[in-house]
Subunit: 160 residues, 2 copies
Amino acid sequence: MAPDEKNTAVLEEHGRLLASDLAGEIEFLTARTRSIGSLLANRELAPLNLKVRSYSVLSLACGPTPPTQRELAGFLSLDPSQIVALVDQLEKRGLVLRAPDPQDRRSKIIRATGEGVAVYRQAREATHRAEDAALGSLSPAERDELRRLLTKAAFPGGEG
Amino acid sequence: MAPDEKNTAVLEEHGRLLASDLAGEIEFLTARTRSIGSLLANRELAPLNLKVRSYSVLSLACGPTPPTQRELAGFLSLDPSQIVALVDQLEKRGLVLRAPDPQDRRSKIIRATGEGVAVYRQAREATHRAEDAALGSLSPAERDELRRLLTKAAFPGGEG
DNA sequence: CTTAATCGTTGACTTTTTCAAGAATATAAG
DNA sequence: CTTATATTCTTGAAAAAGTCAACGATTAAG
């Protein structure tokens, strides 16, 4: 078997099962899309010693409104204790820091350092490469539409 | 906190972070959509002693072309060893059985029993309720379009 | 002031994922 | 036919991820 063929085996022949009920369920299609997507994203992020999870935290920490750990947990659908571990790693590498929230001393605001921003820029390119690879079968317009629909699904309360 | 409010806390306020780069990434939106979807689906499936994973196996086993375990692994993006565990459980409950593949005695075809089909019918209603709850913010036309786009993303080689 | 709730943290526990190896069967080459 | 290589299911172990309850510090409510 070729060196990199192993992890791409996800894209094998499944012709017979495409006619199944399950293949028509959005829940299943979402799970499979995510599985392929995070496989490719993790592969691209590996050289930076990041995974999709740590990349997501770093990304939000680089944004214009750095979040508290509680906000990270809610936004990323993770348990607060998982955020602790993720921030610990990133902080140990000097990519983010825990800043006290002036409005609530219980909370800690996760903000990226200069180096964190630098690493994030590379990581963003990596995830964009992964997205190109994962969604290569969709046109730019289709990707925009998919993004719009998924946003409504992921944030039902949205901006309404 | 109200009795059932805990698990619905995923749908909190995230206004500030919706403007982040991350919120525009399809990979992230897919992960969040799946997280909400499988939470609701697992909740609906719990009374039947099923989870999304075992439901998926049961569903394919009920289909017109029962799959081998290898096909299940590829289609569901799971490791073959995970399929063993899932089929073990379902077989122990009498919902599926391992039939020898006449064309390849290494393979085992996973076929639903009569009771398996009966349970599946209830389970399908449960997951449809969950899908309605998860995608309540999308119109039927939008759901169809989302299904179409996700199918292209999940099966790049598709029916081409 | 007293009580209740929230945030980050820790630790324990379960589940899921990943990986390597083996027995049985199939395929390919000589 | 014999030998070598590959595939399928299975097992078991290890790593990673997810779940949950409890604690100190802080805030909010009564």
